[in-house]
């Protein structure tokens, strides 16, 4: 049953996979820098900024990605902000990415020993330079393995964009399935395609973790 279904339908699924990958890349590309900004302001000496940021991050992490997606795609047009389903998915996932990665990056930044910051200021570096040349490069390095793990989760979360009719892997599989009624084999193939990306990616994450552990 399966193999002929697979041979017939894999081009549609592959094109869906490519959309999934592009959405994920864009979401990470927007979300991670935003996450770094949030991480920096969550560590800011200014109390108000710190509390506002922590509040924003908690709300961002407390809201399911699927709900964020519905708000961006269905909700924003009611206030005259309309994005295509591709950009809606990318923006929604980017917001979730920003909230989660800010916590990961904050952990990384805090792992930089305070002696380094003190040494930098003893050398007469201004705060901005200390952040840019001392804290951020080391903090982000520490955060790389968990960021990779999170990227895999966001790639999986891109399947939620099926609910806004973005032709990514999940919606391609579902629409093929509902026209042929061969749900099992088509969804199975889609699952294998997801796994073909996520499983090697999580191996790489594991390797990065072990390498990083050696340097600490």
């Amino acid at each position: 049953m399966s193999l002929s279904d697979w041979a017939e339908n894999y081009p549609a699924l592959l094109s869906g996979l490519w959309v999934s990958i592009r959405v994920t890349a864009l979401a990470l590309g927007i979300g991670m820098p935003l996450g770094l900004l949030l991480a920096l302001s969550a560590n800011s000496p200014k109390k108000v900024l710190r509390y506002v940021t922590i509040g924003v991050v908690e709300i961002g992490r407390g809201t399911p990605a699927l709900v964020v997606l519905q708000i961006v795609y269905f909700g924003l047009p009611t206030v005259d902000v309309t994005f295509s389903s591709f950009f809606s998915a990318a923006i929604a996932l980017a917001l979730t990415t920003a909230a989660y990665t800010s916590e990961i990056l904050r952990g990384g930044l805090q792992a930089v020993p305070s002696g380094e910051v003190e040494a930098a200021s003893a050398l007469g570096m201004v705060n901005r330079d200390t952040l840019r040349f001392i804290v951020i490069p080391q903090g982000v390095r520490v955060a790389i393995p968990p960021l990779m793990g999170f990227a895999v989760l966001i790639f999986q979360a891109s399947s939620l964009a099926y609910t806004i009719a973005l032709p990514e892997l999940m919606s391609q599989a579902y629409s093929t399935g509902s026209s042929t009624f061969r749900y099992m084999s088509i969804l199975g193939l889609a699952g294998l395609m997801y796994a073909a990306i996520t499983i090697p990616a999580s191996w790489l994450t594991g390797r990065a973790e072990r390498r990083m552990a050696r340097h600490l």
Partner: protein
């Protein structure tokens, strides 16, 4: 305010999917974790492959596989049953990895001491190491459960009448596509944030009760 009332009626369903899925995972994760570090290589490889696939394929694919894939065959499955089954099997894999992390956190001295007392492997696991593993696993499990609560919103795609489903109904009925979803977000945040705080304080409390 009518929105909020309607959305709140979805909370029990969200909690049901979360708690049932988590319970299945917390139980099913135990044999999977043990198989993952079994003496038999075949068992280890099978367990590892199962875990990798359960975690590597998005939850929505599992729900659809169970609901449409299995459900359109000989047996029919309700949306709720499909969602619970899907989150249950996924949770087995995640919980197995959490238990495995817990197992490796137990000092070798605990195994050695219990062996010195003449305990067999089964007793060592069930009386000495196992209880400590469960204890060190609680914080990670709590974090996972909170994530699961948010993921349970995916069950709306097959028509389980949980929080997001009700928000979507309100949005369609009132043709107001933003306020109901914002309320849904609020409800999720109100449920998850106290849970996250509780998990954090549990974490610091329980760490003290484990041998090191």
């Amino acid at each position: 305010m009518g929105y909020l009332q309607a959305i709140i009626t979805g909370i029990p369903m969200t909690l049901l999917v979360t708690v049932a899925g988590f319970t299945l995972g917390a139980i099913g994760g135990i044999p999977l974790a043990l198989a993952r570090r079994s003496r038999f290589a075949v068992l280890r490889i099978v367990a590892r492959t199962v875990i990798e696939f359960l975690r590597g394929i998005p939850p929505i694919v599992w729900i659809f596989l169970i609901y449409f894939g299995i459900g359109t065959g000989a047996i029919t499955i309700s949306p709720l049953g499909a969602a619970i089954a899907a989150f249950g099997v996924i949770s087995c894999a995640y919980m197995a990895e959490i238990y495995r992390g817990g197992l490796s956190a137990i000092p070798a001295g605990q195994w050695e001491a219990s062996a010195a007392l003449g305990m067999g492997h089964r007793d060592q696991l069930s009386k000495v190491v196992g209880p400590q593993v469960l204890r060190v696993s609680i914080p990670a499990s709590a974090t996972y459960a909170i994530g699961l609560l948010k993921d349970s919103s995916i069950a709306y795609t097959v028509g389980v009448q949980e929080i997001l489903f009700n928000a979507d109904m309100q949005a369609k009925q009132a043709s107001d596509a933003i306020v109901p979803f914002l309320y849904a977000a609020l409800v999720y945040v109100i449920i998850t944030i106290p849970c996250a705080w509780a998990a954090r304080s549990l974490d610091s409390g329980l760490r003290r009760k484990v041998a090191r």
